[in-house]
Symmetry: C2
C-alpha cells in the first residue's frame, strides 16, 4: 500500500441463505440479465439437485440458458477461455456458477473473459476494463468461500502452480447458499472443504492485512467449524456420509462464506502458496493441503508472535499447536509421500507466490523448506534437525 490507510473493506455480494432459497427467489435472476450460462462440473450439480433448482427458477421467470458443464477440478486457463467463447457465441449476459471452488473459479474468469478481450499473458495482470458479466453463484460444498471473494484461481501450467486473478470486478453479484446441496457430500469432501474454510479464517488472522472486522468474522467462523468437528470425527468412524444434521450443515456453509469474507479482505498466506504445489504436482485436494501444512506454519508464527497464535488457538478452544496437529491427523489420516527433492522444488516455487508478502510472519525459503519437511518427512529424513 502506498499510503497510510489502516485498511479497506469491500464485499458487495448479496447473500441469500436458506433452504430452497434459489427457487423461492427466482426473481433475483431477472435483475441479472436476459440469458444465462450455467457453469458447472460434469456430475455433482446434477446429483445434489442444485442444477435442477437453478433451471426450475430460470424457467419460472422465463430466462433461457446454456449449460457449460466441462469444468474440471482445479480448472485450467483454457477451460476459462472455452467457457467464455461459449458465452459469447450464445449472447449470454450473466453467469450462474454451481459447484465447489472449481466451477466458481472458472465462472468468474468466464464472466470476465466474456465481457472483454484479454490475452492470456495479461490474464493475471489485474488491469481490465471496468466490466464483467453479472454472476449468481451457488456453492455446493462448504469450504471455498469463492462465492464472496474477488479471486479466481486457475491452474497455470506456465508457472507450474495455481495462480489468482484478483479483481473487485470478480465479486459475484449474488450468492445463493442452500445447505441441502451439501448433505450428501462424502465425509472426506466435507472434511477437506471444512478444513479449507478453517484455513481461510486462520490464515486471514495471520495476514498483514488482518483487520478488526476480518478478525471478528474469522473468530466466529473458526468457532463454528470447530463446533462441527465432533460430527466429522464421528462420521469418519462410522464411515457413513450425511450424518450431520441440517443445522450443522448450514453452520458449515455460513462459516465457509464468513471465512471467504475474511480472505476477501485479508488474503491468504504462505500455507495456500505451498499447498498449490502439492495440488499441482501431486493432485492432493486443496483443503487437505492446507490442513497438512497449517500446523507447522503456526509453529513458525508462534516463535515470534505467540500472542497471535494464542488468539487463534483460543478461537479453536485448543490449548496448543500440538493439539491442533493431532486433530488434523485424526481428520486427514495418513499424509502423502513427498520426497526431499520435491520439497526443494516446491519451496522454490512457493517463494515466487504473491501471498508470501501477505504473511504477518514472513517465511524465508529455508522456513518454507522446513515447514514442508516437518509436515511430510519423518524426523530421520529431514535435512535440518531444528525444533
Amino acid at each position: 500500500m502506498t499510503n497510510s490507510v489502516t485498511y479497506k473493506y469491500y464485499m458487495p455480494t448479496r447473500i441469500v441463505i436458506g433452504k430452497d432459497c434459489i427457487t423461492q427467489n427466482s426473481d433475483i435472476f431477472r435483475t441479472l440479465g436476459k440469458k444465462a450460462l450455467i457453469v458447472t462440473g460434469a456430475h455433482s450439480a446434477k446429483r445434489n439437485g442444485s442444477e435442477k433448482d437453478v433451471k426450475t427458477a430460470l424457467d419460472s421467470v422465463g430466462i433461457p440458458y446454456q449449460v457449460f458443464d466441462k469444468v474440471m477440478s482445479n480448472p485450467t486457463i483454457s477451460c476459462a477461455y472455452e467457457g467464455a467463447k461459449l458465452a459469447r457465441e450464445n449472447d449470454v449476459d450473466f453467469i450462474i456458477a454451481i459447484g465447489g471452488g472449481s466451477p466458481m473459479d472458472a465462472g468468474k474468469a468466464i464472466a470476465l473473459l466474456a465481457s472483454q478481450d484479454i490475452a492470456e499473458e495479461n490474464l493475471f495482470s489485474g488491469n481490465y476494463e471496468k466490466k464483467v458479466l453479472s454472476m449468481a453463484f451457488v456453492p455446493t460444498t462448504a469450504g471455498t468461500g469463492s462465492e464472496v471473494t474477488q479471486y479466481s484461481i486457475l491452474t497455470n501450467d506456465k508457472a507450474q502452480t495455481k495462480t489468482s486473478i484478483a479483481s473487485d470486478l470478480l465479486f459475484p453479484t449474488v450468492a445463493f447458499l442452500d445447505a441441502k446441496y451439501t448433505e450428501k457430500l462424502p465425509v472426506e469432501t466435507t472434511i477437506n472443504t471444512a478444513i479449507d474454510a478453517l484455513s481461510h479464517a486462520v490464515e486471514g488472522m495471520l495476514s498483514v492485512r488482518a483487520s478488526t472486522i476480518s478478525n471478528a468474522l474469522a473468530s466466529e467462523s473458526i468457532r463454528m467449524i470447530m463446533n462441527c468437528v465432533p460430527d466429522m470425527l464421528q462420521a469418519l468412524q462410522s464411515g457413513s456420509e450425511g450424518i450431520f444434521n441440517p443445522k450443522k450443515r448450514e453452520q458449515l456453509l455460513e462459516a465457509s462464506y464468513m471465512a471467504g469474507m475474511v480472505i476477501a479482505q485479508a488474503g491468504t498466506t504462505v500455507v495456500h502458496s505451498m499447498g498449490y504445489s502439492l495440488t499441482y504436482f501431486k493432485d492432493i485436494d486443496h483443503g487437505r493441503t492446507n490442513g497438512l501444512l497449517l500446523g507447522e506454519y503456526l509453529r513458525l508464527v508462534e516463535k515470534s508472535q505467540p500472542e497471535l497464535t494464542g488468539r487463534i488457538l483460543k478461537a479453536m478452544e485448543l490449548s496448543d499447536i500440538d493439539s491442533f496437529q493431532e486433530l488434523m491427523r485424526a481428520l486427514l489420516g495418513r499424509r502423502e509421500d513427498v520426497s526431499p527433492e520435491e520439497i526443494t522444488q516446491y519451496s522454490k516455487i512457493t517463494m515466487r507466490a504473491k501471498n508470501i508478502a501477505n504473511c504477518a510472519v514472513r517465511p524465508t525459503e529455508e522456513d518454507v523448506h522446513e515447514i514442508f519437511e516437518r509436515s511430510f518427512l519423518d524426523s530421520s529424513r529431514r535435512s535440518r534437525k531444528k525444533g
Copy 2:
C-alpha cells in the same frame, strides 16, 4: 418475509479507514462522477477539518463542487428536497455527505431525490426507480453508522416522529473513516454517539433478523465500545474533551461502522422507535434516548429470553442489567423530565412504528408505556407498580 430464507446479507459500501484517507485516496472521487454536491451542516465539518480535506482532494483531481451546508440536526423532509433541487440545478452527479448522522441521512435522501421525481407522499414507500446518485460519506462522529446502512431517517412532521427511507439504493458507494475528525468532539457528543453505536449493536442482537454474521459483528462492536467506556468516564470527570488517544478514537469509529453493518442487516428495535418521540417532541439527542431506554427494554427481553440478554451482557462484560443501567446513568447524568401524559402520547406513536415487528420480544403498548415510565418516572409516579 414470504419464504423460508434464513437471512440475507448485503452491504456493498466500500470502506476506507485511516488517517488522511481522504486526501490520500482522492482518485476514488474520480470513479464517482464529474461534479459533486457536498452535503453538510453549518459548522462542524468546517471546524474539524473534514470539509477542507474533501475540498483538497476534489481540487487535486479537478472535480468541481457545490456546497449545501444547510442540514440541521434531525433533518426535515423539506431539507432533503431543497438539497435535491440544488443538486439538479447544478447538474451534480454525486453526493459527498460530511458530518454526523444528520448530513448523512440528508445526503442519502438528496442522492435519491436528485436522480428521480418522488412525490412527498411516496417518499417512504420504498418503491423507486433503480437509480440514485453515487455517494461518498465522511462520518465525523462515531455513532450513527449511517455510512454503511441503507436508511435515511428524516423528521416527519405529519407522523410527528422520525421516519426511515429504507432502500438498498441508499447504501453509500464509499465511506471514508478518519478518526482525526472526531478528536475534538465534546465529551457529551462522544458519549451520546458511542451509546448510539452500542445501541445499534445491542438492538441488532435483539432483532428477529439477527443472524450469525450480524451477531459476530455486534459482539465485537460491543466489546470495542465497552473498552472505551473507562476513557469516557474519565473525560466526564475531568471535564476535558479530546482525552482519548487516537487509537481509541479509531476503535470507536470502527465499532460504529460495524454496528451500522449490524442494523443494515438486522434493523433496530422498539428502543429506536421510542427514542424518536423523545427526539421529536423534546429535542433529546438520539444516542442519548437509546441509552436512557435500552436498559428497561433489556429487562423486558430478559423475562422471556434470558439467554439472549445473557449473551449481550457477556459481550459487555457486565454481570447484570442493573450494572448496565448504572453505567448509563454514570455516562448520561440526570434524565430529562417526561410527564405521564407525554408517556401515554409517545407510547401510542411508538406502536405505529415499523420496527416493533422487528423485535425478538415484541412489546405491547402496555410494555412500551411501562418502559417509558420506568426510564423516566420515579416509582411513586408510575401507573403500574410491577417488577
